[in-house]
Each structure stands twice: as structure tokens, then as C-alpha cells.
Amino acid sequence: MPRTLSAPVTVAFDYTRSTGPVLGRFLSGLRDGVVVGGRTSEGKVVVPPPEFDPVTHAAVDDFVEVADTGTVTSWSWVPEPVKGQPFERPFAFALVTLDGADAPLLHALDVPSPDDVTTGVRVRIRWRAERVGAITDIECFEPAVAEVRGAPATSLEAAAASARSETPEVSRLASLAPQPPAVTGIVVPIELDYLYAASPEESLFYTSLSEGKLVGQRCPTCGKVYIPPRSACQADGTPTAEEVELPDTGTVTTFCIVNVPFLGQRITPPYVSAYVLLDGADIAFLHLILDIAAEEVRMGMRVKAVWKPKDQWGTTIENISHFAPTGEPDADYETYRVHL
């Protein structure tokens, strides 16, 4: 049996970012199938354009269109791509200096093996069919047609043909229709997968819960009992070794009435979320108070755990459905005063 409990967890958030005028210009260009660089005070064309000049620190406002063909200046093979990268199959990351630019752009290079790429090789951008104004509008770089030996000619020729047929139409539309609005923002979804482990003390707590027991630990220095147990007493920094089984009865120290609906809410408001100080514990923990009208919950109220049916138990605090009033007289303020 492993020393600690663990479970997979995914943390995800869609970051929305405003682009500002410089990156907005670059990303608008990508959407329209054009690569835009910025000219620096030293006269160099940099792609993507820097927002501020690296030497003078002035805002960059001299934009230059560069070609979608260029030369690989460095590359690294990606044998085991990670989630979110341009390809799930092995590929190369490459620095490519586009024709008309003086500094390289980082992107993927789609070649079947490291034997199919060398520094100095000529490449071109493979544009995504549907473009939104993001760096991923460039699907990848691919070897430029004339310099590929033995590549499947059909797909490359088809791509070139489609680029040719697209070009006149785009320019005709551009002259008739108003320009699409400039890109001012992007959304970058971030998702990270972890294997989350509990500490040995937390593992003890959750394993005990799966047996219907509440187990905390006592600090050998100050004698305080923590539940859930911590790896060290927060007052003394001493590891808490001695296990203490606690009853499932306790006192409400403080509480709040939840009136606001939120995503994922399981109970219809209003309901009460409270700090419950188990009898014999020195730290209260958060749980629900149900089986009583929200407005009747009070500080000092005596409560008891209401357990779910045993066949629903796992290594989780949710084995306790909620706490409910015992009907005993309220606890004296003095008994929980120091735990507020």
C-alpha cells in the first residue's frame, strides 16, 4: 500500500488578454494571412514585433510586412510532444528568419524525422484554413516546395494552388468590403494535469474517514489537537505524531448564511456554512449545517455529524453529509472563545 493517498487533478483557466496596438497589429496580420514585423531603432525587422524598442525603449510603430517563406536558423527535435503543442506526433521546434526579417520566429516545423531538417533549410508557413488572430493561425512551417525531395507533391501543390486561388479573392473582397476590425484580444486556454498527493497526516485523516472515524493529531509541544492533522503544528513547527480519535459531535463557532448562487452549487440557498469545533479538537473545520432553518443557526449551537449511508463512503470528508443540531443546550461562549 502506498504511503500516501493521491488522485489526478486538472487545473484549467481560459486567460483573456488584451493585445495592445503592436501585438494586435501582428495578430490581425496573421488572421489576414500576412506576417507583420516591427522595425527597431537599429533598423532591424523583428517578428513578432516587440512592443518597445529594445535599445531606446520607445513604442514600436514602424510595421513591415515580411514574406511567409524563410530560413531555419536553429531547430530542436521534439520526440515526445506534450499536450497543447502544435502536433501530437514528433516534430521539430524551429527558429525561422522570414524573408524580409532580421530576427527569427519560433514555431513548429512539420517534418517526419530529424533527418529531414538541417539548419539553413528553406521553409514556408502553412496557414490554418480558419484564422482568428492568434499565433496558432500559423499551423506550422513546412519545407518550401522547390527544396523538398521525395515529399508527397500532391498535398504541397494543392496547398500552393489553394493559396493562389485565395489571393485574388482576398484582395477583391478587401477592396469592396470594410476591413475586419483589428484584433484587440485573445483567449489562451491553459490546462495543467497533476497527480495530487496528500501528506501522510492528511492520508491518515481521509483513510480513517473511509472507516467512519474522525482522526486528528496532537502537537507534542503545546498539546493542541489538529483535525485535519497537519504535517507540523502551526504554532510550534513541531511534527504532530500522536493520533487522536475524536467524536463526531461539536460546537458551531462561527458561520455564514450562503445566499448567493454560484457555478456547481449543490444546495439551494439560503443554507449555512459553519466552522465546527469537534469536542476535543483545538481547531475548527468548515462544514454544512442542515436540518434547521438558516436563520435559527447560532454561535455555540451543538451539532452532530450526519453520515451518508456506509456503502457511499470513500476517502473523503463528503462521507459526512452535513452537521445537524443535537438539541442540547448551547455551549458556553467561554468554551470556544479562543477558537474564533
Binding site: W77, I135, V188, L192, A232
Partner: protein
Amino acid sequence: MRDVAVVGFAQRQMAQFDGSPTCVELLVPLFADCYEQTGWTRRDIGFWCSGSSDYLAGRSFSFVQAVDAIGVIPPVNESHVEMDLAWAMYEAWIKIQTGEADTALVYAFGKSSAGVLRRTLALQLEPYTMTPLWPDTVSLAGLQARAGIDAGLWDERAMAEVANRSLTDAEKNEYAVRQGGSSVEELLSRPMYADPLRKHDCAPVTDGAAALVIAAEGRAREVCERPAWIRSLSHFVDPMSLGTRDLKRSPSAQRAGAASDLDGVEVAELHAPFSHQELILCSELGLADDVRINPSGGALASNPMFSAGGIRIGEAARQIWSGSADRVLGHATSGPALQQNLVCVMGSEG
């Protein structure tokens, strides 16, 4: 300027830590080591500073939980940086310079193995044009390595020599998660991984924690026979955009070195997570051929995120404490491809 010395150092490094990412479990014995080395208790520490990042293992506010390992009743003077231990030490050094504290214990921790480290670190890149492609740490280092190979600045053999020396030295380091040198020929016969990098060119994913104790003149001599006096502490950063950087170089490392007095340095512990980066650092710092590099085995033997830079300072300080050197250098790096660099020069003379 107040004279400040490194007087305590403790570390724990492992391939995989199976406990909570708050790492309190690792920090308690580390602090105990520091108390034993100095004879101090937590009450003797005037300032605390930690380095960590919640992105590493997906635990929110792990640095707050980690404070449990100190024991904070009554409250302590405490801070945090989302940077390597070396920068936490920099903040503590400044704090001591202000006169607000005379002693500091700085620590750092990280559980890199909880996620896919080389992927997680894509979040430290330029968020508009780089992060959406998830460029991993190994690929970015590979681009840098090849740029130098193509320019004739180093070759695969020079990289293998760095790896072989590191893995050989690591045999004497109980905390190394990868050790055992063989020969340059044997290393070169191993298959490519992320061409141009072989696996031994890349630091192993490492979990761990470390702590350093620093103290001002007066307090330092109380607890250490030969304190490692900080003679200079300097750090610089290069631009975020890879396109405007010459990847073959690390101007920030050069500037950090130029701001330090490197004359007479006998031992340098360099934080180089990829073999070719040690070659760049030696060149940028202008280290002479007779400077002993990474007797600990360096980052190619173990590279716990957020501790590995500070561990270089601790390992270098130990050379002073033991009397085996009079002037040493500890270096830390952060960001992709040696973007940010800190140089700490220490000497035996106060």
C-alpha cells in the same frame, strides 16, 4: 554595507517525493539541520523568506501552508518570492543590509514530479506568441544548443565532457538523483533524445527542498568558525522574446559576473540545467581553466525547481567552511535558456 555570511545549509533532493506539495514534511527536518548547525532556534531568526510556485504541483497557496514548518506563534517576519532560493536569499541579504534583521533563514521547495515539468514551464514564456505553442524547456534548450554547435562555439563532445564530469562528481553526492560517470565515448554512443540533446545533457526532473542561513557580522562568527562571507551578490535578466536574444550568449550572466570580483575564485558551482549551458556560463563569466566547476555534480545530477540555484550557493559555501577554498562562486539561473542569472561570490575573509 554590512558584511553578511552564509553560515548554514541543508538540502533534500529526490527523484520523486510522494508527500504533499506543501513540502512541510521535508522542511521540518531541513530547519532542524539548520538549527543544529548554528545552535540557534527559530527565535534567533530575524527574517524568513521562501521560494516556490503553485504552478509546479497545482496546490494553491502552498507557501502559506509551508509556514507551518516554522511555527509562527508568536508571528515571524516572513516573505516569499516566486523564484529560486538564490533570489529569496537576495531579498534576505537586502533585509539585513537595511538593518531590520541580523539573521535570516531562507528556504525553497518544489514537487516538479506532480505534473509534466517541461510543459508547466511554458507558462513562464511570452503569453501571446509563445505559450499558446507550449514550447517545452527541453526544446528551447535544444534550439540554444544547436545554435552554438552550428556556430562552432561547442560540439557534442564538449557537452558530453560536461555531463561525464558532472555524473562522476555526483557519485560523492548523496542527494544526486542521477550519478555514475562512464566515458565521453560511451555517452556519445547513447541515442539522441531531443536532437541535438541526449538525455544526459538535460537535468533530471527532481523534487526537493533546501535552506540557507545567512547572518550579519557579529552574529555570523558566533556560530561558524569560517563563515562564507558574501563578497558580491548581483543579478540581471535578458529580454523575454527569444527573437531578440542571441541564444548562444547569456548577456545577463556576463553582466552579473562583471559586477562581481571574480579574481581568485577557486571553485564555481554553476546552475546549468543543460550541459551546453555550463559552457556558456564559463565563457560569460570568464572563468579561468583552473577553476573547479561543480564538485557537487551540479544540476545535471539533480535539479529541484526553486532550490537548485540556492543549492549551488550552499555547496559553494561548504567549500569555505571546510577550508578547502578561500574564494568561491555560486550561480543560479531562472527562465528559459539562461534568461536570468545571479552570481554570488563568497570568501573566507570577513
